[in-house]
Every structure is written in structure tokens, then in C-alpha cells.
Amino acid sequence: MGIKQKISRLHYHVLPHVHADGEQHHAHGLSVFALFLYLQIFVAATAGFYVIKLKAPQILGTITFSADQIISLTNQRRAENGLPVLTFNSFLANAASAKASNMFSENYWAHNSPSGKTPWSFITAAGYKYIYAGENLARDFNDASSVVTAWMNSPSHKSNLLDKNFKEIGVAVVSGNLTGTEGILVVQEFGSGAGGVQNSSALAQALPTPSPASVVKSSPSIAPKSFVSHSNASPSTLIVASPSPSPEPSISPLPNPAVAAGGVAITQGAGNTNPTSAAVLGGKQFSVSKAISFGLVGFVFLLFVVEIIFVAREEKLKLRSGVLAHLGILAFVLLVIWYAVSGAIL
């Protein structure tokens, strides 16, 4: 076959057609062999990303964000909703770090640990005694803004973010491998205490605000400390916030973001910012994967759309069996790809 003839038959790759023998053929781009080739592109991309992540993850960019950004964005959302901003609390930050550390060491993605530790046990162990407490979790997001947006899009997480009972916040942003995935874990602890604390300088010496992964990872558990308490909150706050304090916090249904109420309030004053931040390599993988998948599945989908349109216009052609089913499932796959976001919240 000459080149001219080949060029004149290029449209056969994208359009259904009738061969000389009178048999109808679908576009060559939709043959089983062509579909097999598309599949190989997915296999190559998956294998390629795996090798790149292993050998040179810097190629795929670096994700980095900090606890400060999370706190700032949280307060921004609260201000937008007419709520007072939350003040940073180093005890809650340490509780968040301890929780993150425990999640890595016990390798779980949940509010309660496999060994039965609740979010409140970390908060109490860090020396923060509360009237109200809450916890939001997030993992594998590419930036701080996406984390807070994801929480705001979830009614139960949003209620934590915009809870008027919370006065203080502590956040840990830690990178590491959790349940087999390398990424950034965000633990956000909310609290409302009635007293002040505690020997914050002693805590700072015992538990210096952790720098990202290394310190947090090397310190899987934080022992409870005893503190000298001093009150810096008004008693009226206590009365209003804790109409019926109980020694044991109640736990909201999980796996919704955890919220607890109760306990005796002795908390510390706020002040310094939390420098905790984390970085992880391979940040562009999600967007590149999404682009490849959407492009390739979209191409196959379009070929089926073209086939339906062409068949409808050409009298001599008939609609192949199964085309509408293929079109439906490919549309569904496209929806899944388009709707996918990197990261998960709990």
C-alpha cells in the first residue's frame, strides 16, 4: 500500500467504515489491539511513577506546608463566619504531634488507635485539661488550602472548625509513610479550657516544639507531665462552657471528626506560633496522573461518541452492540477521574 493510500485511509483510525467486502468495521483506534496499547500506557505510567518515586522523587516536585498555614486558614474561615479566632496552644500542638507520632508508629488512619487510644488521651497526656475538645485529621494533600477546603466541604469537619465552643488550637503537620503511602499527615486538635496552666516553660524544655518528621517520628509517645496550674480564664467562661462537667469526656461518633465535651479545665496561655511543617517529594504525581488518565480515557470516550454520531448520519452503518454500554462506563470513569482529589480527611 502506497503512502498516499495510507494517508487517504487515516480516517479509518477514528471513524467506523465499511470495507470492500461489505463488512462494517469500527474505528481502528477502538480495536482490541488499540485498547490493549492504551492499557500498556497506563501500566507504563504506573510503573514509571513507582520507579521515579523510588529513585528520583524530586522530579515530581515537592509539597511543603506548615501548621501555621493551617491555623491561619482555619482562623480566616472562622473570621469569615463571624467567629472569634482560635489562639495557638502549645499543649494542643504537642497532643497533635503525639497523635501523629502514634499514627505512624501503630500505622493507622483513624481517630482511635488500634491499641484503643482516643484523641482525648493524647490531649490529656499533653497536659491540657479541657471542657471541649475536637480533632480533625487529613492526609496526602498538596497544600494547606486544600486541607482546610476539604474540611469545610465536610459538614462534620466544618462544625469542628466553626465551633464557637473552641478557643484554642494546636496542629501537627508531619511527613512520613502512613499505611503504605508517603505523604503529609495533618492532625488538628481543638480545645477549650477553663483555667490556665501549667508550667509551659517546663513543657517546652521537655518537649521542644517538634520539627517535622524527625522529632515526631523519634518520639512515638509523650509521657504525661505534671504541671503547676494557674488560672488565666474567667470563671464565667468556665460556667458557660461547662454546664455539667464530667471527669470522663464523651466521644462523638467516629469516624466523624472527633469532638468531646467534659473534663476539668486547666489550660495554658497562648502565644508563640507553631513552626511545625513538613515536606514530601513527588507532589506533582497526582496532577500528572490525572492528566494522563483523563486524556487517554477521554480519547477513547470521544472515539465512541464519534462512532455513534457517524453511524446515526450514515444509512449504511449500524450501531455496534455494546457501544452504548462502553460509552456509559467510560463516562463514569471520566467522572471519577475528574472528581478525584488528592488527600483524605477523617
Binding site: 497526582f286 494522563i292 480515557v297 446515526a312 452492540s321 455494546g322 456509559g328 471519577v336 472528581y339 482529589v341
Partner: protein
């Protein structure tokens, strides 16, 4: 186009409505499992299994099932799972 639609039997129409209803249910599943990529992938796999079972049953009952068609269904199903895996799980 009207001729093409007229060629559909009642069986074709009911069958495809059933398939598309399943896909709509799946779309809700994907929507409600946002921010949980594992769940989304699980929904995708379930829907692809549904598509395969539907396809084999539909073409068997219609009497036009053949090897090439089965391969086509399998290839598209595998592409769907591979695309979902690449985006949601890798």
C-alpha cells in the same frame, strides 16, 4: 438518528436503562466518598464488575456474544480500573 433509535428493541431499552441506573447510583457513591480515595476506587471497581456482568448477561440473552466482544468489554474494564488505580491509589 431516529432510525438508529427505532432499531432498539424493548429489551435493549430496558437493559440500557438498568445499566445507566447502576452508573447513576455509582456516581452518587463517588460523590459521597470524596476525600476517601480508597472508597472511591472501591466504588469504581464495583461499577466495573457491574458493567462486565451486565455486558455478558445482556449479550448472552441477546444472542450476539462472541469472543471479540468479550475481549472488548474486558479491555475497557481493565482500562477503567488502570486509570482509577493510577489516579486514586498510586
Amino acid at each position: 438518528m431516529r432510525d438508529t433509535i427505532n432499531k432498539f428493541s424493548k429489551f435493549d431499552i430496558v437493559g440500557h436503562v438498568f445499566l445507566y441506573a447502576g452508573l447513576v447510583v455509582g456516581a452518587f457513591g463517588v460523590f459521597f466518598s470524596r476525600y476517601d480515595t480508597t472508597k472511591q476506587f472501591f466504588v469504581l471497581v464495583l461499577l466495573i464488575i457491574f458493567y462486565l456482568v451486565w455486558g455478558f448477561a445482556y449479550h448472552y440473552l441477546k444472542g450476539d456474544i462472541h469472543r471479540k466482544l468479550v475481549m472488548e468489554y474486558l479491555m475497557i474494564a481493565t482500562i477503567g480500573i488502570a486509570a482509577g488505580f493510577l489516579v486514586l491509589m498510586s
